[in-house]
């Protein structure tokens, strides 16, 4: 995934809440732990976060409540000022942007769906959705047409003239989604965007975002508490604890090779067979490849469970979508994953 230039890159980003966090942070010599910071009377919401996000990547951030997910995203969009560190977006240090530069960046590049919807209470659904277009100075007819399109997309047809107060929680959330869909930004921050949706609409929305990312190459940072959702969407998953990123990696590697005890605990209850792909588990082709039907590299271990049990060979060939041999899967490894035993 890692392309030449990351779209967003942050280096040593700290965000502390409290009285005078800058001077506190400047005063401590080495990197203070979460506890140190708390004892000093500050709350650490982001601790020394270094992260690159590639163009067209979907990065999913997970972590317990209060672990700093929303804060990190706010740092990336400069809705809050970082205490120290830099965030660059398309090779531009956003901390150095002046107000107009920031406004331009947000009008042209970024979009966000908020955890608490954040709809303007005095505007109808239509006007809320058209708001970012209005800020961009689009003319009334265009923005109305565009807004109606996306409202239809999120399934709120016929409610264009409702006020937020007159909608259910899930409907309000969909207005928030529609508002950010309206401008199809290149960089998308989605803070638990589907938390209030029912499973059916949630799935539709996920498909919609996958489609957009696939077709238009959007870069998406996505926060969720739902591991299944993360697996469906993520290119990489970042797991946060107490403001720091514990591990950021592909789903396969996170479940197979958790970097810390915390991550291991976090993924304890996950059925690994649903996560790990055959292609990931396979080793390189050494010497003569086993003959016979190959398994697809993109299939999860769960997908090929029947074969693993019935096929008695010790080593299985793995092929990519074009049929080319890419590796060899040890059946025992795959069975270990399937039955949840430590390899």
């Amino acid at each position: 995934m890692a392309d030449a230039q990351p779209v967003i890159s942050c280096r040593g980003v700290w965000k502390l809440y409290g009285k005078t966090p800058e001077s506190y942070l400047a005063g401590v010599s080495d990197t203070p732990s979460f506890e140190d910071i708390r004892r000093a009377g500050y709350i650490a919401a982001a601790r020394d976060v270094t992260l690159d996000i590639a163009a067209g990547e979907m990065l999913v951030i997970m972590g317990l409540s209060g672990s700093g997910k929303s804060t990190l995203v706010r740092c990336l969009s400069r809705l809050v000022e970082v205490t120290s560190g830099t965030v660059t977006v398309e090779e531009q240090d956003i901390g150095a942007l002046d107000e107009n530069g920031l406004i331009e960046l947000r009008r042209n590049k970024m979009g966000m769906v908020f955890q608490n919807f954040a709809l303007l209470p005095n505007r109808t659904v239509l006007e809320n959705v058209a708001y970012p277009l209005e800020m961009r100075g689009q003319d009334r007819h265009d923005r109305r047409a565009r807004a109606l399109d996306v409202i239809k997309l999120v399934g709120l047809e016929g409610r264009e003239d409702y006020f937020p107060r007159e909608l259910s929680g899930g409907q309000q959330q969909r207005v928030g989604i529609a508002r950010s869909l309206a401008i199809e930004p290149d960089i998308w921050f989605l803070d638990e965007p589907f938390s209030a949706l029912d499973p059916l609409i949630r799935r539709e929305m996920q498909d919609e975002f996958l489609r957009l990312q696939d077709m238009l190459g959007k870069t998406i940072v996505f926060i969720t508490h739902d591991f299944d959702e993360a697996l469906r969407l993520a290119d990489r998953i970042a797991i946060m604890k107490d403001g720091a990123i514990e591990q950021v990696d592909t789903p396969d590697r996170i479940v197979l090779d958790p970097a810390t005890d915390y991550v291991a605990k976090f993924i304890e209850d996950i059925d690994k067979a649903h996560v790990v792909h055959a292609g990931h588990l396979a080793g390189p082709v050494k010497g003569a490849a086993p003959r016979g039907d190959p398994v697809a590299a993109t299939a999860t271990i769960h997908d090929i469970a029947r074969r693993l049990v019935e096929d008695k060979r010790a080593r299985l060939p793995v092929a990519d979508t074009s049929g080319k041999l890419v590796g060899v899967l040890k059946r025992q490894d795959a069975l270990d994953v399937l039955f949840g035993e430590q390899p």
Partner: protein, 654 residues
Amino acid sequence: MTDAAIPAPAIATPQRDQRIGQMIVVAAVLLAAAKVALPDGLIRPPDWFVLPFADWINWTFAFLKDDLGLIYLTRAFADGVEWLIDITANLLYGKNRWPRIGPIPWTVIAVTAGVVGYALGGWRLALLSGGTFVWIAVMGQWEWAMETMSVIVVAVPLAVALGLVMGLLAWRYPRFEAVLNPVLNIAQSLPHFAYMIPVVVFIGLGPKAGAIVTIIFATPPMIRMTVLGLKKVPPEVIESGQMCGSTRWQLLRHARVPTARTEILVGVNQVIMQSLAMVVLASFIGMPGLGEKLLQLLQALRMGRSIEIGITIVLLAITLDRCSKAWAYRQPVHFERGTPWWVRNKLLLIWLALIAVAFTLAAFIPEAHEIKRRQAFTLSKQFDAGVDWMLVLLDPITLALRSFLIVWILVPLQNAYQWLPFAAVLTFLAGIGWMIGGARSALVCLAYAGLIAMSGWWDRAMITAYMITFAVIISMMIGLPLGVWASRSEGRAKIALLICDTAQTFPSFIYLIPVVMLFGVNDVAAIGAVIVFGMVPMCRYTIEGLRGVPPELIEAADMSGATRRQKLWTVKLPLALPTIMVGINQTVMFSLFMVIIAAFIGTRDLGQEMQRALSATDVGKGLVLGLCVAFMGLMVDHLAMRWSADRKKALGID
């Protein structure tokens, strides 16, 4: 996780403060007991202690007015305001000024009021607001009422605009807010009359002075509500605006102000109510209209007529309050798609049709245009008869009550207050302050009381203090049980709160009518007015406090087998006490305002001096007296709020 970040409060200090405070109070009592042995300088504020604040203020005002030429500025502003008032006066009651097209027929105005009422609150409000104007016209008070309205119509938008701008500035620049806050605190506890004297100096008498004093008086709550509303806007709404690339101005216009709409409109409601109260009182500085008539009639003891005007003012107050509140709490509602324009604008069309009818009627029937005073209907005979009949019945009681109060309570209490050596009073207040809020509160109390002593009005202030003490105690003795009784059932509480709310919208002047009726023009009547006025917040906060007790605590008490009385004493009252304290605080504030207003029916306290300062347009004296009153209020406010906040924290409720 984050709880531990907050340092734990030190538990021990309050108890130590208590003990120190008690010791100081004991010292105060000893001082008083040893009065005979005290030097004169500790009994009354000695001459060297009294500073000529009034002269300084007069000097400053003279400097501002003449040397700096501020008077030209204020006069120019006043002329602008007068020009506006002339327009509304011409439209509303046909004053012979530009644009000379008025007066608008009363039927048109009544219909308009009815439609506005309907739009804001349905049939009941339509009936109330339309009915109010019909009543005014039919009772032949149209011109007076319109004189009053013509000023309100000008003063309210100006005060709202001024308040909004100042509020925005205060919200934007914290430093400005830091300066503004104490000024607002004092401004909101200065009695009405203190505002009038500088206005008379700078502007003169008459409607424009009335309008300007109204604007000044009504602006502070608007500033407060604007800042409150802007601060309450959820950060995510702002952030969503930012992510859409809004500029600062767009954020303010599209996100902040609309989201703060309710608070801002509640501010407008307060401006309107304060304006009405002030316009009525401005009759003291030559403002014509309902207030002036009421003042004359009350002084002439013409009760029937007074009651008529009183009803008008009350109706106006309720109408204005209900309409503006309905506006504030109204939420936008959408129309179904494809609703044709005449349905969307149904009310507008109905209104146009109705006023067309009204104009036509007025063109042919003179009574539909204007009801002359001679043609008017009056109930004053009936009212007078009723009042006479009641007085015959009640006179023995009120007479007895009056003489009992004067001989046995008021005079002894006043003598006692005046007997107290001032050093003992100061010490006592410092002790109370220390008990409630430690050394800092003790200093605050000393500073306020010390300034009053230094003003040279100590004796008068003690008279005011004695009246307030007595009135507040009686208000509590009536208001508290009333509140407890009313909070017993949901329905009763609702009705009682509605009555309290309504009573609070009445301009304070109105409260004088019934007491003058019962007791005549004297100081018992004045105290009666203060008690009635002060009872309202007492009752209201008692109900709110008792009803705010968490239901699970009451259930726990129920399960422990507590009787109703036990529940009241062991659970409800202790938990409601912080809220009740806020009520007591308001009662004191209201009483202070009322005591000063009631001065013109005979008291010998600060209020009487204030009246004198007003007739002599003595700014210095007026402001010093006003500040004395404000300081008393602020001192009580500081103590009550501090106590209430500490108590709430200790009880863990918020």
